[in-house]
Symmetry: C2
Subunit: 192 residues, 2 copies
DNA sequence: GTCTATAATTCGATAGAC
DNA sequence: GTCTATCGAATTATAGAC
């Protein structure tokens, strides 16, 4: 019995199971259509347990999407390869397990929930903008460049992972990295 | 029964009022959060009237978003100005009255309603792809180019009109036409 | 810790009076 | 043609037994 030192309690397993089910449901159905009942059923427990552990639906969502884009340090990438590197990073990220990528989950729900949209704006400000600021000195200019990059990257995620637009779904990652990467590169280092 | 002979009935005004209210609600709240009750209240009539005129919520939504992008004839635009022309077209379209632009309404609901996403794919296939096919002979190549254009244009719409990303909201239309237009131009006529 | 039971809302849709 | 009244279903959330 090592419950004292490493409290691997049954409650921890339940808690983790709820979170895993919640991530999958929120990713597939969005915030509103995902129900506490369905999440509980997936986790094999009672709906009231979800409330017990996470308080309410909003707090469960917040716990399910703790987003860390894990963006690379831009100063350690050859300046002329920033675009393709970033695009490859994002694609590789969500291509693995789309139901576990918080960015896709947020994107799916942001269109109909203002609080989620606000969260996405925060992530942009705290994680994306700083990376661009590392290679573009002027803050105002960096913000615009980062914003342009966001339009292209979020549009790619929408078309490939959410709208499932046939020609974009069919495209290979390498092809997307080449073409979209060139766009991102220009937004980052091209003329303004 | 006879819509041609008696065009100015009271019912027509009611019907139009419902549709106007529905467009605004669906545009602002998305399909799920927009309620029949709220639409009826906005139109100043009883909720049951909405059902009487449009059958159910899904049919009302379908009637509210009959999308005609009214894209220009690509063959009548100077080939090297296709990008900026298309971007300017879209911005001007939704900048006027965002609550009346069906494309934005569809985009807001597509992330959480598969039927709406399917509708958006149809619009892409029927209205966007043909325009590109007019300037790119090969069908497969045209589909890919059109898809890339879609990633950029829908991403721009998302960031500027739905997510309200600060640097993109603050950007002038002219600036967006210049930078995003250059991207679209490359997707249409650049090397593959 | 886990579940039963249920409260309190909200929504789409229907029936029928006038 | 318009409205009143209401049904039936689904949801979040709570109270409390075991």
């Amino acid at each position: 019995m090592n419950d004292v030192q490493l409290p691997a309690r049954r409650s921890d397993a339940t808690r983790a199971g709820i979170l895993r089910a919640a991530r999958a449901r929120f990713a597939g159905d969005g915030y509103q259509r995902a129900t506490i009942r369905a999440i509980a059923a997936d986790a094999g427990i009672d709906p009231s347990m979800v409330m017990r552990y996470y308080g309410n639906k909003a707090q469960l969502f917040a716990a399910a999407v703790d987003v860390d884009l894990r963006l690379p340090d831009a100063t350690r990438i050859p300046p002329d390869r920033l675009g393709e590197t970033l695009v490859a990073h994002f694609i590789q990220r969500w291509e693995g397990d789309p139901t576990d990528d918080a960015l896709l989950t947020l994107l799916r729900s942001a269109a109909t929930d203002e609080s989620v949209a606000a969260r996405l704006r925060d992530i942009f400000r705290e994680q994306v903008a700083p990376v661009v600021l590392a290679v573009v000195a002027d803050p105002a200019e960096a913000a615009l460049r980062a914003g342009l990059v966001a339009t292209q990257m979020l549009g790619l995620a929408m078309c490939r992972q959410i709208l499932l637009l046939p020609p974009i779904v069919a495209a290979t990652p390498a092809l997307l990295v080449a073409h979209v990467g060139a766009t991102v590169q220009r937004y980052l280092t091209g003329p303004l």
